[in-house]
Symmetry: C2
Subunit: 208 residues, 2 copies
């Protein structure tokens, strides 16, 4: 499950075609970059590594991605888009069931992409403005959907106070999952999902 499978199956589907457009080829390379990031930090994800894995020249990669920094930013952009897409809550069901489904995919994602995910979180927190912005966009997308209205209503009603608490809750969820992934013996996976899901209403309830 998770990112690697997605990226691999995407690439497989594409490589069945006889000729790729430059845009498709770039997407395929980005997918490969994202799948390599799963088990590597951002610093370890170099043009050289990608060239070797893709079996093409470094020169051609520079043609697609400009420079090392642009390449990393493109991979991170793609990785966070994947994360946001994969963790979309199902449109049907009770609010807490939908939240649980979304959080289950998030935990899968962090488990399957631990090295890369930790390095993105760190890079985002540090000086690089573009990476920080990408990370903030992802966090905003992940928390916005908590307030999005659909047929079943919103998961949490939106006010300035609930906004603040949901944003802080997303830091809680991220830290809990990362700390658990470092030491999985501290809590069962089911228990982790219980705590993640129950924590949001428990925190919002304090505002009542």
């Amino acid at each position: 499950m998770g990112l690697v499978t997605t990226a691999t199956s995407r690439s497989a589907a594409r490589s069945g075609r006889s000729r790729l457009t430059p845009e498709e080829r770039r997407t395929q390379l980005l997918d490969l970059g994202v799948s390599l990031l799963a088990t590597r930090s951002l610093d370890e994800l170099t043009i050289d590594v990608l060239a070797e894995e893709a079996g093409i020249s470094r020169g051609l990669l520079y043609h697609y991605f400009g420079n090392k920094q642009d390449f990393r930013e493109a991979v991170v952009r793609r990785a966070v888009e994947d994360l946001v897409e994969q963790t979309a809550p199902p449109s049907e069901g009770e609010p807490l069931e939908r939240l649980l489904a979304s959080l289950t995919v998030y935990v899968d994602y962090v488990e399957n992409n631990y090295q890369g995910y930790v390095s993105i979180v760190r890079a985002a927190a540090s000086g690089n403005d573009t990476l920080r912005e990408l990370y903030e966009q992802a966090r905003t997308a992940l928390t916005d959907r908590i307030f999005r209205e659909d047929a079943q209503g919103t998961i949490i009603p939106e006010t300035p106070e609930t906004r603040l608490v949901v944003r802080a809750w997303s830091a809680f969820a991220e830290e809990l999952v990362l700390a658990w992934a470092e030491d999985p013996a501290s809590m069962t996976r089911d228990r982790l999902l219980d705590v993640l899901t129950a924590s949001l209403p428990a925190l919002v309830e304090i505002l009542d």
Copy 2:
């Protein structure tokens, strides 16, 4: 209140003495560095700025602090020691009263030292191992005391699960206070303190 006052009064007490030992002089310079950090990011805190504020030569500062990186690390070490010391919960009182008292000082601290605090959090999250270690030590010190036993018992009983939840709660608290400090209109200060204090037992209760 806050770091600046503490640092200034410490320096004032010391400058009353006719002669300082090198160790006292270094401490006085560190206090000044910490107070300057309140309204500056770590990057803006340079040997030049300190030299000007202290009215001494850059050469003398290099004598005390070796190089720019050592100087910044020494200032951060002192700043987090101050934070841990100032936010020590009172030894008397009910667990939640003690927690509220500690969190009130923490909110004061972040308000009074916003620029420097944000830059320390960012520097800690990024690549610098020493700063990350200092930050982790501070976070551990801040969460350890939640489990420390005294005459009134512990605030939260210690298990691997409560450890994980308290660590994640500290990320929640940090994010909530930083987000609130950025946009204080979103919630009153009293309400912020209510949420901070009530959130810890609410999260730990999920484990029951």
